[in-house]
Amino acid sequence: MRIANALLLTLMLGASMPVAHALADTLKVAGPWEITGIEPAQTGYVFSRLQVAETLVTTDKKGALVPALAEKWAVSDDNLTWRFTIRGNAGFHDGTSVTAEAAAISLRRALAGVGVFSQAPIADIASEGHDIRIRLTKPFSALPAYLVHFSTVILAPSSFDTAGKITRIVGSGPYKVKALTPPARLELEGSDSWWGGTPGIDEVNYLAVGQGETRALMAESGEADLVFSMLPVSVDRLKANPKLDVQIATIPRTRILKVNAASPFFDQVEERQAVSAAIDRVGITKVILRNSDLAATQLFPPAMKGWNSPDVPPLERNVEKAKTLLKTAGWVPGRDGILEKDGKRFSVTLLTYASWPELPPIATALQAQLRQIGIDVKVSVGNSSEIPARHQDGTLEMGLVSRLYSIVPDPIGTLLQDYGPGGSDWGSMGWDNKEIQGIVERLAATNDASTRLPLQTRAVEILQEELPSIPVTWSELAIVSSKRIAGVEVDPLEVNYRLSAIRWAK
């Protein structure tokens, strides 16, 4: 009787759970990003990558800017007024047309909110016929690149309530939202009104899976067709699986040691160079990232054309040179081998965070390597907000951070933040270099490639010589797809995963 009761209960439990949708013809996607709210500045990237919402401008496979909702754009002769023309055949998922007026509302919202767009020198945004007119306070050539950022996605007026609060995502992309269960699941279906055609697969399910190991198992068990962001330890095993394809792309993200150049430990350039020379980048990348090509011999990876200079001397390990440099800076070994200067021990705290699982192990490797040149490092793993907080109050000594240089597709967007006067959260600290500030200002104002290239090269040289942040490793993105599907592309800028181009393999 008891067992019968239990069985009955089990059946009731099972029957009352919502039944899963037909899965056979659904493209199942898994990635690490949770959908914490639907405000574009917070999670717009999920809707942009999965092609639900679109921006005015997007990027092609090579990272060049190409039209999305804006079919063309132009700037006035004084470089102060930009016009973006909305394409005529674009429609929102609620059946209304994408108008310049609707786009201007979304953009003004982005400008008032949190996100990179609010940092552009914009005076006002207005609509004129099919055009959006953006007036600037000073020339700013990177504006179209800023309009790729996910916080500037164009949403239909029906996405907002009367108070202007977002209540749902009504975009214009090839997929529309069928159901959203925050924070983990997003179900999409094809939209028949997309200006770019009809998506190859009509139904897409996205599942947020935080654990890397679980994501790998989802790919291996066939429970997901497309899985993003694999851990380096899983990649070799997945490559050997005959049912799966693994694609890897270098992404414009560098793990750097942020040092406080205003502190007595890192105020001299020799000290920063010594720390750099003590780092065994090849060892770290080989063991922790399983790919020694990721050793960051300079700040920007080779895939960032024009920003990676083959002419600068590469950052390499040289313990003897490191010791000499520290001696020049006045540090001498104390009784226990730890360096001292004017009675002060070279003992610093290295702060990092676990949002990226590889940062804490890299931090402990750095701790051991710096000990070899007489620097005592304590590793502290906290929340990602502690680095900006300790930057603000000036108490940060050293931080290991992962910095993205394609927040907007033009790295100038990140450089403007990171190496301006006073530095920034994830950039320099206590390092004030007038030359690089001038270069960055000029780069932001011009669009001409021949003017920009020498300036970019000089910027790289300064960063390599001065080391306001010390590059440790570059990054890559591994994507696993099932052989059931074809047409998968890796977008190194992670703007748009082009799911609409994916088809079932024949």
């Binding site: 439990l13 914490t36 917070q42 924070p183 699941r185 679980t214 959260d425």
Partner: protein, 312 residues
Amino acid sequence: MKNFFLSRLLQASIVAVVVGAVCFALMRALPGDAAMRIAAGRYGPDARIADAAEKVRLELGLDRPIAAQFLEWIGSLLRLDLGHSLVTGRAVAHELQVQLGASVWLAATALLISLLIGPLVGLISGLKPGGAADRSGLAGAVVFRAIPPFVLGLILMLIFSRQLGWLPPAGFGSPREILLPALTLALGLAAMSSRVTRNAVAAVARAPYFAFARYKGLPEAVVVRRHGLRNAAIPVVSYLGLQAIYLVEGVVVVESLFAYPGIGHALVHAIVERDVPMVQGTALVMGLMFVAINATIDLLTFWLDPRTRRTA
């Protein structure tokens, strides 16, 4: 009986006030700037957090006196309003309904599976203490209680998802997906409940009334059913209340591992991101659930054991 419900109601209201006050104090005693934490939770680790934090501070009025913020929370609670999450912007009551609901399903399924395994193993072990069944029951209990849920979950995934391909390693929404996380929790629960059952059964089997039932010639099955089960069930049922605590700590790990959007996972995020209304709402509802679970266990014991009725 009336007294019983009145005292439980009083207990529930005390729990509500104490949990609310303690959570409120603890969340503010934590080191670090709340606005920075909330900004990092909302906009992720690539954003300009310091700038975002200033906007968050203004938006949420985090600079107001702490006493005012606490009174405000108590006031809304009296109006049955748990407020809105500072990170996602949705109503806490709605988040709890979805996420706590998901966790309750998971916990209930786990408890059910554990009840199918634990007491049965315990009964067989306890009837012959020191026998082969008892010894292998002990070994199994030690192994499954000693393996952390994280490792056990991965092992189950490797077997049932990767090798056999029967069950998905992550997801939610259908019975197929709940089985692996529920089994991970259930094995840990069953490990303990099988031993508690075994000891209770062994104690009953040594009792004079049990021997008497045998001496008077009752068949073994009738002896166990009539004189064994009910007496042995009393400590096992009481122990279920304690297992609820194991479930709460277990769901945190298991939900993260299996990408199951339950309350354990949400609570960890809420604490890290200083989402105070979410933490307070969750702690409050969990506290009340413990009161409800304990009340149910007391009622069950009351029904199982007539002696408590005589003294009550």
